[in-house]
């Protein structure tokens, strides 16, 4: 697909000072692969941070471009709790490789959501990502990691899974493709 994507750069260039906007449906790459769920088991009186990660492909050739903004325009995780009472927060990280996503600073943090018993709690994911990661989006490949940060103040384990149902990243950049 790089061929077609690269060709598009020429078309993008013809739009002069206009911006190039990419709406990347990250979820579509994760759906059905198992990476769209984050099983969690939080022992009593402790915390845990299970995660999943995904490679994102972007059209090549934007290495010299300037990223104006990166935001999540549409995102949702269903916290499908099967037992226990606690909180689940979400953290999104981005890095140039999969290992880097473990130590990368959070690009977006979703406040903790309380879960209890057997229930499904939808959690919206949206907002601007930290500008510190903007440069990553001039690459043709980057990685994202979604971490569920769980706490369990109770005496029984908090178990369940976070099921991603939508995640669209919008990248706006000033193209400098030559």
């Amino acid at each position: 697909m790089k061929a077609f994507a690269s060709a598009l750069l020429v078309v993008v260039a013809a739009c002069g000072e206009g911006k190039a906007i990419f709406n990347v449906d990250v979820y579509s790459f994760m759906a059905g692969t198992g990476k769209d769920t984050i099983p969690y088991v939080i022992p009593p009186s402790s915390s845990a941070s299970p995660s999943t990660f995904q490679r994102i492909l972007l059209p090549p050739g934007f290495g010299s471009s300037i990223v104006d903004s990166v935001k999540i325009t549409s995102g949702n995780v269903n916290l499908i709790n099967s037992g226990g009472t606690g909180t689940i927060g979400l953290v999104l990280r981005f890095a140039a490789d999969s290992a880097g996503t473990i130590t990368a600073p959070p690009a977006l943090s979703i406040p903790a959501t309380a879960v209890t018993g057997a229930q499904t709690v939808p959690v919206a994911i949206s907002g601007d990502l930290s500008p510190t990661i903007n440069a990553l989006f001039t690459r043709d490949t980057l990685w994202t990691r979604i971490t569920a940060t769980g706490t369990n103040p109770g005496l029984t384990p908090v178990t369940g899974k976070g099921a991603l149902t939508a995640l669209v990243v919008r990248v706006v950049l000033q193209d400098r493709i030559f």
Partner: protein, 453 residues
């Protein structure tokens, strides 16, 4: 390599539809002609180039009211240099692709419409956002306002030119050697690719997208025997009245030629971003091994002048088919393994044939004797017909002009102008609309020139 193939094709996609413009007016330095929508009321220019009979017609400037020559006043160039100082061109955003302000559309507009004359209304430069929606099985390209840059039909650029015509003769006969250069590059998008780029239609799984390319270029010399003469004349033989006939027979000696045909595209798999699409490049390239093209063709022209009225028709390169007895035929294909284009010779020292396109001009002019002259011409220089209709009214020292034209993109353009003549000197101004830009909207240029009578 893979990225380059389709990238190049799409680059041409964007740029090429704008190239086959009417060159007849845009590269003239005659402000009078601009003011008349591009028509030439004189007996030079297009009619002399495309009508063999006009070789026998005297170009009387005193009769036609045309100057001996015009000197353009390049207000546009002055303005351009003011905005783009020559000593700073290296860092000028217009020419520096690394600049965030670099706009290839603006650069192409300058190339398509050289800034000799002053642009009263500059063509808009699309600066809209381009939005791409990317998913595992989804790709939508929304070019916004720039969708108009994507051609709906076959597009390309081309010309058939006579670079020189050296020779002489007597009694109406003429022996000469003519240099010819013809090129034509055409592209056709298939309906799938056109819909993706022009209508933001989603790329579909298990679908193919391609551009069909047909390009030819040939050049050479042609020893020519020609005749042009007045067959009949009016009551007063001293006038130009009469029926003129001209013709020329060319023996074309082709020096070199090349022709490439075939598709460039790709086929998307069952999931758009699941695997690399299959690249399709399967083109045939024919090139001459030796400068041994040969063929015969001819020109025919007629003109009739009766008092204030004259009309002419010239047709050129009739039956001009060149046979190249020693050519090489190569097949160029893309191979996924190695991600490369490879060529293989599938025929060598074989015969190939090419044709020169027929070019023509039809012209008419009426000099009414009251200072009014009207004229029209229809010109086809090998790629599309251009029609000009214009008029000039002289009143004392002054002249008022107007005209319309239909350019190669089949769009109407308009011209209006005026002039002041003081003895051997004149000043002319012509305003004209044109589409010599990437935009579909008209621009307005003001041409200014000093005429020497």
């Amino acid at each position: 390599m893979r990225t380059g193939v389709v990238g190049f094709a799409l680059a041409l996609l964007v740029l090429a539809p704008l190239l086959p413009r009417a060159a007849s007016a845009q590269f003239s330095f005659d402000a009078r002609r601009y003011g008349m929508g591009g028509v030439s009321l004189s007996r030079d220019g297009n009619v002399r180039r495309y009508n063999a009979a006009y070789r026998a017609v005297k170009n009387r400037s005193n009769l036609t009211g045309n100057p001996k020559f015009s000197i353009p006043i390049p207000f546009g160039l002055i303005d351009f240099i003011k905005d783009h100082p020559l000593n700073q061109l290296g860092s000028d955003p217009m020419f520096d692709p690394k600049s965030t302000a670099f706009n290839p559309v603006a650069l192409m507009n300058v190339i398509l419409n050289p800034p000799i004359f002053y642009e009263i209304k500059k063509p808009p430069e699309p600066t809209n956002n381009v939005e791409l929606t990317i998913g595992k099985n989804q790709l939508i390209v929304n070019l916004g306002g720039s969708q108009v840059l994507i051609p709906e039909q076959k597009f390309g650029l081309g010309s058939s030119s006579r670079l020189l015509d050296l020779g002489g003769g007597f009694g109406g006969f003429n022996l000469s050697v003519m240099g010819f250069l013809q090129y034509d590059v055409g592209f056709s998008l298939d309906s799938n690719l056109r819909a993706v780029l022009r209508e933001a239609a989603p790329v579909q799984p298990d679908s193919s997208y391609s551009v069909l390319i047909d390009a030819v270029a040939q050049a050479g010399f042609a020893p020519t025997v020609g005749f042009a003469g007045r067959l009949t004349h009016g009551p007063d033989a001293a006038t130009d009245d009469g029926f003129y006939l001209g013709g020329a027979l060319h023996y074309y000696l082709g020096a070199t030629f090349g022709r490439g045909t075939g598709p460039a595209g790709f086929t998307v798999g069952d999931t758009i971003f699941k695997s690399t699409p299959t690249i399709l490049v399967n083109d045939t390239l024919r090139t001459s091994n030796k400068a041994n093209g040969h063929g015969v063709g001819g020109d025919v022209g007629v003109a009739w002048i009766s008092g204030p009225f004259e009309v002419g028709l010239g047709v050129n390169d009739i039956g001009a088919e060149l046979t190249w007895s020693d050519t090489k035929v190569q097949q160029i294909q893309y191979f996924t393994a190695g991600d490369s284009l490879r060529s293989s010779v599938i025929g060598n020292h074989v015969e190939s044939k090419t044709k020169l396109p027929i070019t023509y001009v039809a012209n008419a002019a009426l000099r009414m004797g009251t200072g009014t002259t009207v004229g029209a011409d229809v010109v086809n220089s090998g790629r599309g017909t251009v029609i000009h209709v214009g008029a000039e009214q002289r009143v004392g020292l002054w002249a008022v002009r107007g005209g319309v034209s239909r350019d190669q993109r089949k769009r109407m353009q308009f011209g209006v102008g005026g002039g002041l003549r003081l003895g051997p000197l004149g000043v002319d101004v012509g305003l004209f609309t044109h589409g010599n830009s990437l935009s579909s909207q008209r621009a307005v240029t003001m041409a200014t020139a000093i005429s020497i009578y």
